[in-house]
Amino acid sequence: MRDKRIENTMRSTSRNSKLLLLGVNHATAPIAIRERLAIPTHRLADATRTLAGQPGVREALILSTCNRVELLTVQDGAQDGSEAETDAFSAGRPAPTLSMIRFLNEYLQVRATDIEPHLYEFREREAVRHLFRVASSLDSMVVGEPQILGQVKQSWTIGREVGAVKSMLDPLLQRAFSVAKKVRTETQIGNSTVSVASVAAELARKIFGSLSGKTVLLVGAGKMSDLTARHLIQQGATMLLVSNRTESRAQVIADALRTPSITTGVIPLDQLHEQAYRADIIITSTGAGQVFTPENSRTLLQRRKNRPVFFIDIAVPRDVAPAVNDLEGCFVYDIDDLQQVAIQNKAVRSREADAAESIVSREVARYSDRVLQAPATEAIKHLLLDAEVVRQHELTRITQQLSRQPLSAEQLAAVDRLTKSLTGKLLHPQIAALREIAADSESDD
């Protein structure tokens, strides 16, 4: 009877909850597929609720970003292994997987045959690993980018609100957040920028610290210079001056970048050298060649009382003479320099990603051990409790039998120790067997 109960405990806790993750991401699916599967934030709650209502799904979470759509579910173990229905897209997939593909098909009106070639599927321990990697930004297109953690947290919040994230997914996600935090604090994975515009902003911060109150001068017009200026404004620059051969075009750019917190202005190109001293950061992209020479840059520095000036030269041929970089207080970075820094930073991220992968592996093992050993621990607890009840019962019986010649306190303590030791030794093989079963079930998964 007791063995049956222990067996049931093992079975109910280990076999009836199956973690399954199904999804597509930037590496497996083209944008044409991802955009059809993307679920906008305002529909996420409804989608999560619908997914959680699918047959066999106990808990559910949907992560939908521009680079990935993933469905994380806790499936009813009874469904696992059941035969797939004969269907055009079944292809021998187990029922839980098919159920999720069907959800995508029905909810998003995307044909299953369109999705299936791009899908990846992770179960149990591998699903945990994938989730930890996603939250830690190791699976992102730009490894180390910080937005993904916020997006996972948003999905988690919505999942909790609609009651789809419960006793199993909730601790798993909280663990994922702490793993992501650990990766961020123990590695440098998120500390280096990898795009040209963000590298320029990062360099500006190394010169000026905070960009708050700094003035940016845009000389010439171009996509890259526009993007860099926007990046600097995002980082806190508060004034933007634009100088262009066509003044009306300069005005258009200035108007486009003006916000309530940004003051913009136009400098006629013929007054550029008289006015350039006002700028802390000068982005040039005219391609006219040698707009800034050591001579005019020296004058500019004098007018700035030697306060540093940062030239971001995106033009080819270069607008800023390389010799300007030799002047004390002038820092010149051309497009090659910026790209070089971006490449260096990517290498740093890649090195740090290895360290981050080790942290994730360690944490996956720790989490899996805890979760997968839980049924065994529960069963062992039952076993020990039952044994203790029997021991206490036998002790009471023997004490009553000896009531005419009661045992002394030392004798009672010795009997207590003896019975404890006997119980422990007798139960040891069973406890070891239970642990072995748990370990076997883990390796099977």
Binding site: T185, E186, Q188, N191, S192, T193, E202, L203, R205, K206, I207, F208, G209, R304, K305, N306, R307, P308, N325, D326, E328, G329, F331, Y333, D337, Q340, V341, Q344, N345, V348
Partner: protein, 271 residues
């Protein structure tokens, strides 16, 4: 007991000085969490030790060289902690903390036994004179380090060696601000310290005081200090030339310090 606290402070400074290296060079927050509390704990025990020593000697100021050096060490650690909190940088610890260890280690393990004979040492004004001048020295040292770090950071940026892993230096403008603010803090301290010292010496020694080599060098240092602030503020002097200027004033400061052996006024202790 005060020696025990001082030794404990030296050990904590040592831990902080070691922990600050990975914290600053490799931007490891875990080491930062060791360096800052250690430095803070060290400063606390150092303060307790100095207070106990001075209280036991029935005076309120450090007189022998060891005590003075030890107090300068404490001021440097306090400067490091202020920078860490205000500018969120521990880079200065790489320079300030080892110097603080060196300044405190001698009084901790080989304390002096000089007996104080000079009557003025019991006045609060003299305490102020010494404390203000020590603060000015610490500020000057800090300014010199800031200028050196500025130079390193400037070279790194010019040579385009900007790998983030070694991005341990604060931004150029922050370094410039730290250097200039340290000088601006040091100037009133030095001015007030010298004025108080001069008045006290005039009262007890008379005009002969102005013939003392240390006094003359101190006045030269004060003028150099003012010139340095003026040049830096008005011409925006930075980089290499700022380092030269700071180094020059620092050398004058060392000369002033060393002039104790030549000074008749600054020998307060009996042999």
């Amino acid at each position: 007991m005060s020696l025990l606290w001082l030794r404990l402070a030296v050990i904590l400074y040592g831990i902080a000085a070691l922990a600050v290296l990975p914290a600053a060079l490799y931007n490891r927050p875990r080491w930062r969490h060791i360096a800052l509390p250690s430095a803070m704990g060290g400063a606390f025990f150092h303060f307790v030790s100095i207070t106990e020593t001075l209280y036991a000697a029935h005076r309120a100021l450090p007189i022998d060289t060891h005590e003075t050096l030890s107090m300068l060490g404490l001021l440097l650690v306090v400067a490091f902690l202020i920078l860490a909190v205000h500018y969120r940088t521990v880079s200065f610890g790489m320079f300030l903390l080892p110097v603080a260890v060196l300044l405190a280690i001698v009084p901790a393990f080989h304390p002096g036994h000089e007996r104080i004979v000079y009557p003025l040492v019991r006045t609060g004004w003299l305490l102020l004179h010494i404390a203000l001048l020590l603060a000015a020295y610490a500020a000057l040292f800090l300014s010199l380090i800031a200028s050196l770090l500025y130079l390193i950071q400037e070279r790194r940026l010019k040579q385009k060696r900007t790998e983030s892993k070694r991005g341990w230096l604060p931004p150029l403008e922050t370094l410039d601000q730290i250097g200039l603010n340290a000088l601006r803090f040091g100037l009133p301290c030095m001015t007030a310290g010298l004025l108080i010292g001069s008045v006290l010496a005039l009262q007890s020694i008379g005009l002969a005081f102005f013939a003392d080599p240390k006094v003359l060098l101190s006045i030269a240092m004060w003028i150099a200090y003012i010139l340095m602030i003026f040049i830096r503020s008005h011409s925006g002097l930075r980089g290499r030339r700022a380092v030269y200027l700071s180094s020059f004033v620092f050398l004058v400061m060392l000369a002033v310090w060393a002039a104790n052996s030549l000074s008749a006024v600054h020998r307060f202790k009996a042999p």
